[in-house]
Every structure is written in structure tokens, then in C-alpha cells.
């Protein structure tokens, strides 16, 4: 009997409908689960330079040993594949989503899914206690994500959990989502289009099995001790007109008992509740919108206007229903407004009216159908800039590229267009942007977002606390001092921690608990030592899986994952020369303190980070020694062949 893991992975060939099971336990010692396990399986099964829409591309949907248990926030599900969104060419990356799907998959007996091939007709993958099969789903093709889920729940019961794509995924736009429940999505990485290319409309799962827990009492004890708290003392989580219970409210995921800032809700026009965090202009007050504007080094990002509440609610829900990554609006609306400011009123014969809600709704529908302007912008902004170069003022092309500077992902956690990150936090983010397969939002929620807001709230208090925290976590009180040097340890620590979290699985808004629960700003200002409990993940794993792994062992697994992801990037052709292209973004002045680096300075950041990781400075690929040290000899051998081919 295995605690934590169900012991089986389900592999489905969508072309033939054949299924086979694989043994999870053959992997868990070295790869644990979730994102690290997915990276290993991707390395073993996705061909080099595989296109995102090729049948050979694999969709990996993974849970971790904690998923489905009471461990707080453990219902996260990892999805990975070669992404159509990554720019300038496809490579392997990941998304994570909350909700209830991952736990239900485990209750049905599986730790994860491996999907490949392409079905001749639209299909739903049905997984129950009785097994798995493909069900013809032409009747669902074209349905929005809410309708699709409701229809499947009618057939399989309300307890069934569904992942599905909307019309945007069917049209294979490059930022189509895979949706679940009302709000959960694998959003950024464009996996909805990969599902569309395989004619996979949905996965419905219903299971009645249980996850075995090694030490139920210990799990209860840990969960009760964590209690309900806000992960950051500065998060404003109170909304006017809400009762106490609702202020302490809602959850976006099974077993989330935290009161984090993601759980900010507002009421929709017809009385339903909608999340109000991380969706930018949808709910932002006018003052907040002004704060999203940016001007520097010849670039202007105009503020994005709000529509009225009912309209914003409608557009928000439409995004979910069409299956479009909500962040498209963070980049496209300001870019379109800037077009108008510079006198560009139409693109390729399509009029631009981004201030008009009805026009914007039509744009969203056109995106989902890949028609009109949606045919062009459905390629995403970064690729659209390539297509429009020479047709538009150069400032617009530059702006479009910088808005999606991170290999086609929307600017985020970079201290310029979006997010408050003074020095040194944006430097830490910059290292993560260069080294990861996608924007490092996940890795940066703790190290950048939760910490970076402290000096912005009170520089002196924060400096005193952060020096002490740095000493204890990184053995260097200077680790978070404003500066450009010796920041790799924090970047690497953040990435390692989050590979661990994504493999267990836990939510990155709550873990690692770098700052202890303080209960509010006053308590924070009076505190000297703000360090939280960094061993919660280890104790939860021990309670659930009965495995006592020390931090070194967990870090080794995390590093295996990151180096595998890096090797997958190398296999796709990515290396330092491409990553140096990110320098232009960090040459823009930081919105908080005006700091920046030139190309040479950015190169030094890469040198420091690559060296600290054990990667070569020429390409930023893991060295043979690094990979061998992690027990990844087969990866080392293939990278050596790639190096020889490149030299030749």
C-alpha cells in the first residue's frame, strides 16, 4: 500500500483511443510528483523540436502526493506540454490550476494523465472508478466552458469534475485556456489550443476511492496549527458591505483554508460572487488603473479604463466561457489604446475602438473564432508584432514586444509595466525570467510579491526585518539589500522552493511561509523577526506519505525538475543568446525607483545566475557535471550531443 500516491498514471492515445497504465511509484523517489514528475515524463516522451499542435506533443496533467488530502491548498493540478504561446518558437512549459479536478482524479485512482495523439473527432475523456474511455463529443464542440461543464455534470453528476476548453481552444488561438469550475484555469501557457489540436474537448472525472494517509493525526495536527490566516500582513482582504464570514471568505480550491488575497470577491450584477484579484482592470478602481500606467525610456503604457460593473462582470465571465487567458486584456487593451493615441484607428481594415465595451466584446468573440482582427491577434501580441512590422509606427511594435517581453508571456513581476518591485526584487525576478520556460509568476509570488511590498510600505521597518530574515534563510544579511550582485541565491532558492510546492502540490500564494502570519500591518511594524515556518511542506509530506525527507533531499528533487525543464528548453533550441534579448525590458526604468540595467549589466546577472546553477555561461545549459550530480546521466548525454551538433 502506498500513502499519498495512488500508484498509477493513465496514458491515453487519443488517435486510437487505447489506454495503458504506468506505475507512478517507479518515479516518485527521484521525481516526487507534479511539476518535477511531469518534466521527467516530458523528457522521456516529447520529441525534440516538437510543435505544440503536433500529435506527438504530450499533455501531462499531474497531481502530487498531498493532492486530495486535507493538506491546506493541496488541490493544485499541474498541466504541461509544448506550448503554442512561447515566442519565438514552441517549447515545453507548464501551468498550474486550483479547484477540485486533481483531487477527483486521485479519487478515481490516478496520480496523473499522459495524453498524446489526436482524435479524429471531438472527444471527451471519461474517467471513473470503472476505468477510462473516450466518448464522442461532437455535441459539445463549440460549447462554451460553462455550458460544457454543466452538460457533463448533468450526465455524470454534480460531484464529477471537469477540465474543458472553450471556442478559443477549439480555434487554437495561442493563449487559449483549459478551464475548470467557475474561475480555475490553466491560463497562460495556451494549452487550450493544444487540446483543440487534439480535438480533446473535455476530461470528466468522478472517483470514490480515497487517498491513504500515513499519519492522519499528524495531518490533522499540522492543518489545525496552520489555521486560517493571511499569507502576507499587508493584504487588504476586506470588502465593504460584506459580513464577517464573507470577509474571511472564499476559496478557489479544495482544502484551501487560508484567507489569502486571491480570495477577494465582489458580487456580480445578478448576485453571484466573482473573484476580484489578479484580473487587473476588471475590478480595479480608477486610482488603481492609473497605477497601471507606465512611462519611461520613450515607451508609454496608457491606463486601461474600466467599463461599468455589469459590463466588466460580463466580459470577465465571457473570458472564462470562451476560454481566453484573462491576461490578454492586460497587454492588448493598453496596446490598442496606444494605437489610437498615436492616430492608428484601424489595422488591416479593422476599426479599433478599445474604449468601447461592445467593440471589446466583439474582439473577444473574434479572437475565440480566429476571425477579423482576432485572426491576427489570436497569434498573440508578440507574434502579431512580427506580422505588423512596417505597417505601424515603430513605437507600437516596440511596445507590443515589451508588453509580452518574456518570450510571449504578458509582462508580470518585472517591476516595470506590472507589479511593484523595487531593487533588488526585480533583479531576482530578472534572473528567473531568463532561466525559466515561462514568466516566473509562481516562483515570484513569495520572494518578490510578498517581500517586495514590505519596503514599499515602510522602507526602514522592512530593511531591518529583511536583513534578519536574509541572514536566517540565505546566511547573508545582504541578500535582499538593494543592489545587483549576489542575488542568484535568492532567485535559486525561490525556484527550488516552488518546484517543490508544484510537486507536492501546494499553492504558491501560501507557501513557502517565508513571512509568518502576523495578522495585520500594526503587528508587522512591531515585529523584529518575521520569518515563518519553512518546514511545513516537509511535515505535510511526512504526515501524508510517511516519507521523512530533509530539505536537502527535497531541494535535490526540485533541482532535478528545474534542470530537466532547462534541458527541455535546450532541446527546443533555446539558449542564452535568446535570453539576452530580455535585456531591453530591464533597461526600462523600474516604476518604483527608476533603477535599470543595460545589456552588459543584464549579461552579468546571467553570468552570476548560470554559474550558481552549474550551467555553462555560453548557452546557459546545465553542465554534464551538474546533471550527473543530480542523477540525470541520460540528460547529460543528450545535451552533450546537442552541444557537439551546435559546435559543428
Amino acid at each position: 500500500m502506498s500513502y499519498g500516491w495512488m500508484g498509477r498514471l493513465l496514458e491515453c492515445d487519443l488517435s486510437s483511443g487505447s489506454m495503458r497504465e504506468r506505475d507512478t511509484l517507479a518515479y516518485v523517489d527521484a521525481y516526487l510528483g507534479g511539476r518535477v514528475l511531469a518534466a521527467r515524463l516530458a523528457w522521456e516522451s516529447i520529441p525534440a523540436r516538437c510543435d505544440a499542435f503536433a500529435p506527438e506533443n504530450r499533455i501531462l496533467i499531474m497531481t502530487g502526493p498531498l493532492t486530495g488530502t486535507l493538506a491546506p491548498t493541496s488541490a493544485r493540478t499541474i498541466m504541461s506540454a509544448v506550448s503554442p504561446r512561447t515566442y519565438p518558437y514552441p517549447w515545453y512549459t507548464h501551468s498550474t490550476l486550483g479547484g477540485w479536478f486533481g483531487p477527483e482524479l486521485k479519487y478515481a485512482g490516478y496520480d496523473g494523465l499522459i495524453l498524446h495523439g489526436a482524435a479524429p473527432e471531438p472527444v471527451v475523456l471519461e474517467i471513473t472508478d470503472r476505468g477510462a474511455r473516450l466518448v464522442e463529443a461532437s455535441d459539445l464542440w463549440g460549447a462554451d466552458t460553462r455550458t460544457c461543464q454543466l452538460r457533463l455534470k448533468e450526465r455524470y453528476g454534480q460531484e464529477a469534475q471537469v477540465l474543458c476548453i472553450g471556442p478559443a481552444g477549439e480555434s487554437m488561438i495561442r493563449f487559449a485556456t483549459v478551464q475548470h469550475s467557475e474561475e480555475n484555469a490553466a491560463g497562460h501557457s495556451g494549452f487550450g489550443g493544444v487540446w483543440g489540436s487534439k480535438r480533446l474537448k473535455a476530461i470528466v472525472v468522478r472517483g470514490t476511492g480515497a487517498v491513504s494517509v500515513a499519519d492522519p493525526e499528524a495531518l490533522l495536527r499540522e492543518t489545525l496549527a496552520l489555521g486560517v490566516h493571511q499569507p502576507t500582513p499587508l493584504s487588504a482582504n476586506t470588502l465593504p458591505g460584506e459580513t464577517y464570514a464573507r470577509r474571511r471568505a472564499p476559496v478557489c480550491s479544495q482544502t484551501c483554508t487560508f484567507n489569502c488575497q486571491v480570495a477577494q470577491y465582489r458580487r456580480t450584477a445578478d448576485g453571484r460572487r466573482m473573484p476580484a484579484f489578479c484580473i487587473g482592470p476588471v475590478w480595479r478602481a480608477e486610482a488603481g488603473l492609473q497605477a497601471t500606467a507606465y512611462e519611461g525610456a520613450g515607451l508609454r503604457v496608457p491606463p486601461t479604463p474600466n467599463f461599468d460593473l455589469a459590463t466588466e462582470t460580463h466580459l470577465h465571465e465571457l473570458c472564462n466561457q470562451l476560454g481566453i487567458d484573462m491576461w490578454f486584456r492586460q497587454v492588448m487593451q493598453p496596446w490598442l489604446i496606444r494605437c489610437r493615441e498615436l492616430g492608428v484607428d484601424a489595422i488591416r481594415g479593422h476599426a479599433l475602438c478599445p474604449e468601447d465595451a461592445t467593440w471589446f466584446e466583439h474582439l473577444m468573440r473574434d479572437l475565440a473564432a480566429r476571425r477579423g482582427l482576432g485572426e491576427l491577434l489570436g497569434e498573440d501580441l508578440a507574434r502579431a508584432m512580427d506580422l505588423l512590422r512596417g505597417e505601424l509606427p515603430e513605437e507600437l511594435i516596440t511596445l507590443g514586444r515589451e508588453l509580452e517581453f518574456d518570450f510571449g508571456f504578458p509582462a508580470h513581476r518585472e517591476g516595470r509595466f506590472w507589479d511593484e518591485e523595487p531593487l533588488p526584487f526585480w533583479v531576482i525576478s530578472a534572473m528567473m525570467h531568463a532561466s525559466e520556460s515561462r514568466d516566473p509568476t509562481i516562483g515570484a509570488h513569495q520572494s518578490s510579491m510578498h517581500l517586495a511590498y514590505l519596503p514599499l510600505a515602510d522602507p526602514e521597518t522592512a530593511r531591518r526585518q529583511l536583513r534578519r530574515l536574509s541572514e536566517r534563510v540565505w546566511g547573508d544579511p545582504e541578500a535582499l539589500e538593494p543592489g545587483y550582485e549576489n542575488k542568484a541565491p535568492v532567485a535559486i532558492w525561490s525556484q527550488d522552493q516552488h518546484l517543490t510546492i508544484d510537486s507536492l502540490t501546494l499553492c504558491d500564494f501560501a507557501f513557502p511561509q517565508l513571512v509568518r502570519p502576523l495578522g495585520g500591518r500594526e503587528a508587522w511594524e512591531q515585529a523584529d523577526d518575521i520569518l515563518g515556518d519553512l518546514d511545513i511542506d516537509r511535515r505535510l509530506l511526512a504526515a501524508v506519505a510517511g516519507r521523512q525527507l530533509d530539505r536537502e533531499a527535497l531541494t535535490r528533487i526540485a533541482r532535478r525538475g528545474l534542470n530537466l525543464e532547462r534541458a527541455l528548453l535546450a532541446r527546443a533550441g533555446r539558449s542564452r543568446s535568446l535570453e539576452e534579448g530580455l535585456a531591453s525590458h530591464f533597461a526600462l526604468p523600474c516604476r518604483d525607483d527608476g533603477t535599470r540595467v543595460d545589456a552588459e549589466g543584464y549579461g552579468r546577472l546571467l553570468d552570476e545566475y548560470f554559474a550558481a546553477r552549474g550551467w555553462d555561461l555560453e548557452r546557459g545549459w546545465p553542465t554534464g557535471e551538474t546533471l550527473q550530480g543530480l542523477g540525470l546521466g541520460d540528460v547529460a548525454a543528450e545535451l552533450e550531443v546537442l552541444r557537439r551538433q551546435e559546435r559543428a
Partner: protein, 144 residues
Amino acid sequence: MPSIQRLLADDEACRGCQACTLACALAHEGAAQPGLARLIVSKDMARFEFHIDYCRHCDDPACLAACPAGAMSLDERGVVLIDDALCVRCGACAEACPYNAVCYLADRDRYVKCDLCVGRPEGPLCVALCPVQAMLLTTEEMAR
């Protein structure tokens, strides 16, 4: 004599996180699966409505009256308990309960119900872990 304590659930506050059911299942069955709990949290996605089926610990329990085997008893706290050794698996208690609060665990062939976490002095786990205070422990007077 202390007031009899009762559970009080607020469907409107519930968000379906299942912390209550998972804690209940873990404490009573030692495994993680909401379906092993002594309460049921369900969601109607079409209406975005949640509903909690839970034991009211009735003054005059229909479940107890319906049991033909004498397997149910009332303890000093006013809580109906099931003696599994005496239970004949007829399902009469579950059928009689107007609140859908007696659960049948098919894979274990057992009828189970809320015991207010007997033996846990701090009170029921579902109340302790609810992040939105949708589960409350209250006295009979407060409940009125």
C-alpha cells in the same frame, strides 16, 4: 447541566472547500475522501449554490426510532451514536433521517453519522477548520 450543543451550517457562507469533509473522513476513517465523511458538502454549479447535509442531533431522532436492531443510542451530550457491531445494515436510519445525515460507506459496508467528534475536547473538526465560518457549534438556545 450544560446546554446541549448542536451544529449549525450556513449554506450561504460555504464555498465548497471540503476541509470539513476531509477532516471528518481523516479523523473517523483515516483516509482522504469527502465521501467518507459524516456530512456532505455539495455544489450546484448552475446556480453557484452550496448545500451542507449534516446531523441536527434532533431532540426526537427519527434515525434512532427507525433502527430495528437497537444499534443506535443517545449519549449524555444528546448525540445519536451507531454501534456498528449491532448494526444490521438495513438502512432504515438513513431512510428515516430528514436531513440526509446518515451516510452509507459502500466500500466499507457501514452506516455512519456525526458524533460531534466524540473524544475531542476542542469540539468538532468541521467547525475548527471551516475558513468561512459556515460550520458553527452552538447551543440549542443559540440555534433558536
